[in-house]
């Protein structure tokens, strides 16, 4: 079928390629970023829920961020153990650093390995637990993806430390060190970020939580089963970030299409005049240009999705970053790509439809 829309797309390959690239870029931005957010959050949630402690005791308002401190006194552990229904406690400190691959952030946990291991069931599967400030242990996933083994060097706190052991299963953060070493490095003796609480009867965890709140008011006592909400909240600005990515994608895609279509309309002024001489209405002319933009945007969306999948495959193999794509975000990215394309083409289309027919026909 020989029609104006497809023939224009074929006859202007550079313009088409640039427009497709612009829309694809927008789609890649949305799909990869939301995929990363979803993937990293869900991965973290899975690992946090896997710690085996039903309750997490922390300081009210404390958030896990690169600038956060470890505000909880470990002596709260003794008070928690005196509360009815508490079986075991284990203090955990955190430190956030840049990812070893240069991408993203990485959490380093400080743990008392004996109590932590009892609560979480984490076992050393290779090597041994770290014994000095210069040693850490990592989980199997990190060992595999970063090609690390017992004795390997690893950067923590900007210093080179040794991997003393590899543990399994994946629970909490992927790098762990003795809590005392973390406290010492952060000049936070006797402090931790939170205390994991194992209860004697998981069915009564709500009662235990209430008793903790009664006995130790002014602190935050979270149930691990609610951790999805908690983790999302602990990452400041995550919703704002996603929104910013969406807006940025719309702007990038719409601007590229606008510029491409605007240039095309100028080049095709005489053709607009011919359409008018044939009796084409403004609606018909806008329709032709919008169809062209939508076709280009559709190709851009498909290319963007393919690039996103390839990029995700590469990222997951080259780093410890986890990406999860959901149909809802893929659909939204597609609709945003198409919508931005249609929006970007609207102004050039209206401008074309309003051109003076006689002037357009005499355009050189």
């Amino acid at each position: 079928m020989d029609n104006l829309v497809t023939s224009n797309i074929r006859q202007r390959p550079t313009r088409t390629l640039l427009s497709v690239a612009g829309v694809a870029l927008g789609v890649v931005l949305i799909v990869l970023n939301t995929g990363l957010v979803e993937g990293m959050l869900n991965d973290r949630i899975r690992r946090e829920r896997g710690v085996g402690a039903e309750i997490r005791f922390g300081r009210s308002g404390a958030m896990l961020s690169p600038s956060s401190s470890n505000p909880v006194d470990v002596r709260y552990g003794d008070q928690l153990m005196k509360i009815e229904g508490v079986k075991l406690v284990s203090p955990v400190g955190y430190y956030i650093q840049s990812g070893n691959s240069g991408l993203g952030m990485e959490i380093v946990e400080g743990v008392e390995f004996d109590s932590y291991s009892t609560i979480t069931g984490a076992k050393i599967v290779e090597g041994r637990a770290p014994q000095t400030d210069q040693e850490v242990m990592i989980d199997e996933f990190k060992a595999l993806h970063n090609k690390l083994s017992v004795g390997s060097d690893i950067q923590v706190f900007g210093e080179t430390k040794k991997v003393a052991g590899i543990y399994s299963p994946q629970v909490g953060s992927r790098i762990k060190m003795p809590l005392s070493a973390l406290q010492s490095a952060l000049s936070a003796d006797g402090k931790c970020f939170e205390i994991l609480v194992k209860v004697t009867d998981p069915d009564k965890q709500d009662d235990v939580r209430k008793r903790i709140l009664d006995k130790l008011p002014g602190n935050e006592v979270l149930l691990t089963r609610d951790i999805g909400v908690g983790v999302g909240r602990e990452i400041p600005g995550i919703k704002g970030f996603v929104r910013a990515v969406l807006v940025l994608s719309v702007i990038v895609s719409a601007l590229v299409i606008l510029l491409a279509m605007y240039t095309t309309i100028t080049e095709r002024t005489r053709e607009i005049g011919i359409l008018k001489s044939l009796g084409a209405s403004k609606g018909f002319i806008i329709g032709v240009i919008e169809k062209e933009a939508l076709t280009i945007s559709l190709i851009g969306v498909l290319v963007g999705l393919v690039i996103s999948m390839i990029a995700a495959w590469v990222l997951e193999r080259a780093t410890t970053l986890q990406l999860e794509f959901t149909w809802s975000w893929i659909l939204r990215a597609g609709l945003i790509g198409l919508g931005a394309g249609a929006l970007g083409a609207l102004y050039p289309a209206i401008r074309a439809a309003n051109k003076d027919a006689v002037q357009a026909l005499s355009y050189e």
């Binding site: 020989d2 023939s7 005489r270 005049g273 044939l278 009796g279 084409a280």
Partner: protein
């Protein structure tokens, strides 16, 4: 003869900077159904302006332009566009074909606009038009693969395919050599005779004007005579 096109005291004044330019100064023209009329005159005499007004591309300053019973001077831009779609076919000096479409695509586009997306041209009319213009074997070619004469024949086919009330031809042989000019004029004559197509053609060329049944002479925005 039943007039399919009529102008009454047609005036067109352009504003150029602070100066008013009188392109048409009260033109009265009547064209009968099935008539072939040529309009001759020197450059700047207002022939192109008149053709554009007759085709609804321009709105006159005053006067009437009655096309097949409808006064285009009273219409909005959208209404003139609609009348043009239904009743007018244009043929231009520079062919004005879509370079990215084949000859077939150019015809289909005109049909699509005329039928508002529906196919309303019957195959018999289509075959007849292509036969008269000797284009049967050229439909898969793009304009740049055709000679000037062939391109103009495709442009004529595009103008006539929807069987408009009037064809307005603006110097249709202006870009052609004498051999192709002759062929195109012969085709226009044939369409006029065999399909009873009304044609209004503006031209500088007296030989071209001679193929029409009537020639109207214009000067300084007025009709100054006819033969």
């Amino acid at each position: 003869m039943d007039a399919i096109l009529k102008t009454e005291n047609l005036v067109m004044t352009y504003r150029v900077g602070k100066v008013d330019v009188n392109a048409l100064r009260g033109v009265n023209l009547s064209v009968g159904r099935g008539e072939f009329v040529s309009i001759m005159g020197p450059s700047g005499c207002g022939k192109s302006t008149m053709l554009h007004i007759l085709g609804g591309l321009l709105k006159p300053t005053s006067g009437k332009v009655i096309v097949d019973g409808e006064d285009m001077a009273d219409m909005t831009d959208a209404q003139r566009t609609d009348t043009r779609r239904r009743k007018i076919g244009f043929v231009f000096q520079r062919f004005n074909l879509f370079p990215t479409l084949t000859a077939e695509g150019n015809l289909q586009l005109a049909e699509q606009i005329h039928g508002k997306g529906k196919k309303i041209v019957d195959e018999e009319t289509r075959r007849e038009v292509l036969r008269l213009l000797r284009l049967e074997n050229k439909m898969r070619h793009k304009p740049l693969e055709l000679s000037g004469g062939e391109q103009q024949r495709v442009a004529i086919a595009r103008a006539i395919i929807n069987r408009p009330a009037i064809i307005l031809a603006d110097e249709p042989t202006g870009n052609l050599d004498s051999e192709n000019s002759e062929i195109v004029l012969e085709m226009l004559q044939k369409l006029n005779r065999e399909l009873n197509q009304t044609i209004v053609m503006i031209t500088h060329n007296p030989e071209a004007a001679a193929v029409a049944a009537r020639t109207v002479h214009m000067r300084d925005g007025m009709i100054v005579g006819e033969e």
